[in-house]
Symmetry: C2
């Protein structure tokens, strides 16, 4: 069977050349006579992968040596707890900006650990959006400010990041490496890999090293950023294969160029938004200024039509277009590796579907 | 290049047929037109893998419905904290048996969380061993008793498990699924996958469901077993590919038969121990009754000879024989998938090396 157009929100489509390389060398990695799945995490074969992957990420985002690049397990969901466990100490308050379902999860988790101020809240608005800077009421001396750069479910995305006095922390799970950004603006950035980066099973965490020192001494070893900084993410056995795949994907991004990829991502999203804007049948979920380049969300006139849309699209190899179960509607997740041709196929399908059903 | 004999302690050798199947379908899983790396964890393709994997593990170990089988991230190192966070509550004491480096790590972590009694301690003895039942001084009303079924570094293994009043908890990372055992004897068993089960990046946790209810309400969501029990390990995105590989490996174990595999494992280890016992050149590290079937550890007359041994073995495609950096010596890790032919090659090499150098 030919490969389909995979609009899944994550795990999601990966660059075909990365998959082909992984396939080719799956039984014999780099002439070692072992699969990369079988290589010791302390051996020279895996060490080369691990170190190249850190270096590629540092290069792609021009990350200075003030920061550590970590590969941690447990996804963004574990980071929701690790961030406050490590940074929200000494009775301080953390400011959180609520932009939707994922920001809400981060807030709920932080409240288990310490004092939280929701500094702006548009998490339940429809059309969906992210807070504007003038709405944000920050706490003087806050431990940090937390944002969710792209809400995967609602399809709302920050187009610029707020200027804050406290260190800015971002969950970038669904738009990390889809566009350049200045890491110096942030204290900590984390991202589950399974969107633009690689398979599920690893989160990339970039942390300004001085911030990690706040952690209370009696914190479990695996939950301390200092553990992983001091051991280059090799305190325990890392998820080697997931990191190996990220490495192949970062090579592909280097070849494409992050700035070019960003341009391409915007152009891909715009093609779908253009259909939405020129139609009375489709309705975009997010306000115009906050529309995500990664997750294009929209509604049809009825849930019945939405169901038909998903079903008929699927028959044309357009897979995974159903919106998140919590909100319904349609969602086209179009990460870095989603091909242009798939966008054109969707756009044609949308126009045709509208003609037939309006 | 032909595949080598991989004696690495973990990540470690996997069944070649599992690797070949993964390779074959890496770009198109089960006719879906997607890689298994790209399939949504909420989609039917991955759901079939996940559910089969749970079912295979339950069947292989005859696990009753009183227990939940979970796939968690963070390895055994995270379980060192999760076990006491969830089970060591209300001021109770947990009994730990110290059999070596890995038991010590579990003890150190539990002490961060609550009261710990080291109920027997032979963790630093050489020759290495596990505690005998008559040495164990259990706490009346203990929250649980924790053991490390096989010490990967020292090569000492429990041949039978202690009878305890409190729920028995075992770190089985390096011998899980290498032999049958009665899960009803245990309250909780956990194992990092990267020995007998699959690649690094997932730990299998089997927990008697009633024990999970003890957890304090303000525990971070990802650290509560209840979260993962209630969501069939799908609260967040699981490490799908690692679980897919475990599923392929459990299919292979079912075909081989767990009892047969156990017999084969004992026979494989015995061949090496026979060389050690008939030699004055080599010296086994563990006492005879506690010798591991998984990690055969021994010393040579000098560190210089050990270095030569590792180097010359490597030239004959016998890879990864160097002992753990903390203890030195030689370690042959011979998990389920390690082939008989590799054992014979090692045995011949050992005899020849002894002849040349004694």
């Amino acid at each position: 069977m030919a490969r389909v157009y995979n609009f899944c929100a994550g795990p999601a489509v990966l660059p075909e050349e990365a998959l082909l390389e992984a396939q080719m060398e799956l039984l014999d990695f780099n002439g070692s006579g072992m699969s990369v799945l079988e290589c010791s995490h302390r051996g020279k074969e895996y060490a080369a992968v691990h170190d190249e992957c850190v270096a590629n990420l540092k290069k792609l985002l021009k990350i200075s040596d003030d920061y550590a690049v970590l590969f941690l397990q447990g996804g963004a969901s574990t980071q929701f707890a690790m961030v406050p466990i490590n940074l929200l100490v000494n009775g301080q308050t953390a400011d959180y900006l609520n932009s939707g379902a994922w920001a809400s999860k981060a807030i709920k988790e932080a409240k288990l650990i310490g004092k939280v101020n929701v500094a702006a809240d548009c998490g339940k608005e429809i059309p969906t959006r992210v807070p504007s800077e003038k709405e944000m009421k920050f706490t003087p001396g806050a431990a940090y400010v937390h944002i969710t750069s792209n809400e995967t479910i609602s399809g709302a995305q920050y187009k610029s990041f707020p200027k804050t006095e406290a260190p800015l922390v971002a969950d970038m799970s669904s738009d990390f490496l889809s566009r350049p950004f200045d890491m110096n603006q942030f204290g900590l950035v984390y991202a589950g890999a399974q969107k633009n980066l690689g398979p599920a099973g690893v989160a990339v965490v970039i942390i300004r090293k001085d911030l990690a020192g706040r952690v209370p001494a009696n914190t479990p070893t695996m939950l301390k950023y200092t553990t992983h900084i001091e051991n280059n993410s090799l305190y325990n056995t890392p998820p080697c294969f997931a990191i190996y795949m990220i490495n192949l994907v970062t090579r592909w991004i280097q070849k494409m160029g992050l700035e070019n990829l960003y341009k391409q991502n915007r152009a891909k999203a715009q093609k779908i938004y253009d259909v939405l804007d020129s139609s009375k049948f489709y309705k975009a979920t997010a306000v115009k200024e906050c529309r995500s380049d990664m997750n294009v969300t929209f509604r049809l006139p009825s849930e019945q039509l939405e169901e038909m849309f998903v079903k008929e699209a699927s028959q044309q190899k357009l897979k995974g277009l159903k919106g998140h179960r919590s909100v319904g509607g349609i969602r086209a997740s179009i990460y870095n590796a989603f091909p242009l041709k798939g966008i054109d196929t969707l756009v044609s399908f949308m126009k045709e579907f509208e003609k037939k059903n309006s």
